[in-house]
Symmetry: D2
């Protein structure tokens, strides 16, 4: 019989950091935590030898930690300054706020909401945005605000402005494109960098429209799905997770779509979960998933 | 306790057929076999509704069959003539003859030869052809004739002519490109249609050169391998089998190459095995694997 | 561009048959269909050489078929009588009726209901039965009758009698145990043979209670789920489908449970779908999934 | 284009340690390395909250490290003494020596030897031991000493004594049971703890003899293989790696055996590779694979 003491009950801080590698980085980070009374519960390091980059994730318990949250950032800023580092510190009791953007398909939305209700996703979901009204009832069912912002060739930029205002108003930390069938303009992506998209192919195969139809026409024996951060370039952003399933000659396009929906749900929810757990570190056009 | 009566001990005939769908095809094929005293041991049918095509594989025991092998083809020709069909009949005691073409990498070659020794591949392998001499010792070890035909920009067509002569001389039924790092000219492919290649990516991603390097640079979370029939267009032929493996930020290019080698061996050997069992039917640019 | 003509639009009949192998079975079945004007759209045969058993699934279009539905059974009865066969004939417009039995966990129930709404499962679901009331609201939300039949050591047999009456009343064809945490008595199983259960391990490992805890304690690197038909012997019935997922030292029991839920949903829904498509044939304690 | 600087070219030391968790462990280990001039290139930590255990793997470059190899152990002994820790330190230029024990099947042996030749396994393989002579020719082919020690009911303990003497004489660090079809006696296991076995099932299903036959008889839809450390209890030792493959009604016992051989090769070689990289830490009856 195994007893699980849930470490999540105690508040923790998580540091994600990347910088050029040099001796002593692990020691200095660990000393900062230890000398201030923290206990490290997770520590993962990766060195990318092709770029000489040190990448690290450390999580420690805040119970008994001597520094206030404000003081942590100030103190670590002084430590990391000489390293030319990029870093973030997250606190486990600051719950990220998510907006889900959808069009007409409901499977990814329902899957995310069900996992959210089942406490698999540690987040608040105050906002659903759509360019259609097909999924408004689901938003109501889960008591989430729904905003309908139809997009056409004329109004795209002005509607995106409204989308950004909603993100501001609802204090959103992460946007999930859960089958949102619109291409975001570069200015939107530049204004709000934390966007995860699910694409229904194993990228880089079949970027863009109708990947299942193209997979069928190519006669592939596997289909896939890819969750990635959104960048200016369509379906070119850093990949967080991919998964595939075998298909055969018995599967027509509608079977591929059906099988693919299961992949999309799994892959998107994994990527979102890892992001919310602050396990994903982006560098260049790639990710480390600690 | 289960007792296995090996059906392979008895000689069988296998029909592979595709034609426009119409009522009665299954009945007429089954009647032809039954009325001549055959017992069907495997029968698989697929109808491609997008093209209206009937595709079928039937295998029956020849023990007690009334028709001679020559008579089978003549009789079936008369039956199938009105159907506008493409069909082949294979006999289980006619062992296909394979030529393996390689360059310098030995993993696919060794894997095929071990499986052949372990009786996993029902074929004869009398010929290995290479544009290098690196693998000549392996050919000798397995007592297989080895022919060295170096290729450069000047001699490609003349060397391919010699390759075709070898295929003729050794009465080869199937060529396996087991990491043969040369692009075949259209005339060679037109002259010898039964060629299986292993490509080290999940096509259509990363066709052409250095797919593992490009997969690393794209930051993918899965890599794959694809076995396909060779056509004029590089890495565009009908796919027989694909498989993938997960990779992570810990895997650098050399890890991808190492993991990929296991995929390449598995995928290529499966495709070859299915081809030798006459389970693969090509139509358009796709395959049915019965 | 590929065009899909949905064959499901036309009504079909599906024959599932098993009997001792003998020459002519395929021909006689195909002739029966062809001479009565049917067009076979799917045909799959399997011969189990260890038992000498012929197993077959044939589906044909009823449009233009000369025999009435009643006459089909009568006619085929005469044909199959000498074969000592077990067979069933299903019509695609007779929609099976499902009862889902649950306890407190909602993930399999919700997954089945979503797939049903998304038209992935060709069935009617008029009845949900539970020994608790926790999931009653979900039944109401989907406008499905909910019956609460609490079970304790005293009332088990009498409550099972009521369950059987409900199956009778609602004309149920298939019971799905979607995390129903009660062991059925042999008499119930004998009275109603079409029951599919989802067990949260890769059987035969970890039958019975708390498989995820036991998997954790054993330190396995994969966990699984198994959908099987229910027989008298707990978790010993014919297996329809199994799937696994990798776990690591990072996964504690609650992670195994979370990852396992995704497996359970996938495996159960696949098994149900194949059953509803009349693709599953049971013989001995095993299944053929055509 | 990505450039890989192979870190393996520089000598490294690897510490594997487990002890009751307490604050400051990461800091003290990192400080020990840093203050002596080492650069950490890999660091992974796991805390098992169910047992309160801290588990860690740290690898650092020895180039420029101030302490001699002898001094490292002495110094770290003093540091770790108060922690009640179990730890090992390995140096990358001390190449482990492997003995492979086999019976008659050659697939795992050949696979290991091929990977060894391809530099996938960083080890020396000076010794092959077998209770049969079937694989002696392979040993000669790879220029490895072969010792034939037939086992029967009478001579088991005396032959095991000879096996231990061979391990001593050849200075073996790791024994691989590559389809060695004998059960080791508890005294042998007690005398030589570093033994990896490949079992041809997904344990804990089908321990002991003839797992493929029993898997076939149970009608499973997946088969597996498990690599584990050998303990006194047959097939009960700490699991290092497991993998599965799908099977269907088409696969008879000989197909299961054939498919299983590919699994066995993959799983065993992964486990051996991770062991040789000092990535496996055993605690209780489980492993952490860093």
């Amino acid at each position: 019989m195994s007893i699980q003491i849930n470490p999540g009950k105690l508040n923790t801080a998580t540091l994600l950091i990347s910088c050029p590698d040099r001796p002593g980085l692990v020691a200095k980070i660990a000393n900062f935590i230890y000398t201030n009374g923290g206990n490290i519960i997770h520590a993962d390091q990766h060195t990318d030898f092709s770029t000489g980059l040190f990448l690290n994730r450390v999580e420690w318990q805040l119970d008994g930690f001597n520094l206030s949250r404000e003081a942590i950032a100030t103190a670590f800023y002084a430590i990391a300054k000489p390293w030319n580092a990029q870093w973030q510190i997250h606190f486990s009791d600051i719950i990220p706020r998510i907006a889900i953007w959808v069009t007409k398909q409901n499977h990814c939305l329902l899957d995310l909401l069900w996992r959210w209700q089942a406490k698999e996703l540690k987040a608040e979901i105050p906002l659903i945005v759509s360019n259609h009204t097909a999924l408004e009832a689901i938003a109501h069912q889960f008591a989430i605000d729904f905003h309908h912002l139809p997009i056409d060739q004329e109004n795209k930029l002005s509607q995106e402005q409204k989308q950004l205002e909603l993100l501001e108003k609802y204090q959103i930390d992460l946007v999930i494109l859960a089958k949102y069938m619109q291409i975001l303009s570069p200015s939107l992506v530049a204004s709000f960098p934390n966007i995860i998209n699910i694409h229904h192919s194993f990228l880089p195969a079949f970027p863009g429209a109708k990947p299942y139809h193209r997979a069928y026409d190519r006669g592939v024996k596997i289909i896939g799905a890819t969750a990635h951060y959104v960048t200016e370039d369509l379906d070119q952003g850093p990949i967080i997770e991919q998964e595939v399933v075998h298909v055969s000659h018995r599967d027509n396009v509608s079977d591929l779509i059906r099988k693919g929906k299961d992949l999309e749900k799994l892959v998107l929810s994994r990527a979102v979960r890892w992001h919310l757990d602050h396990r994903v570190l982006v560098y260049g056009n790639r990710t480390v998933v600690f």
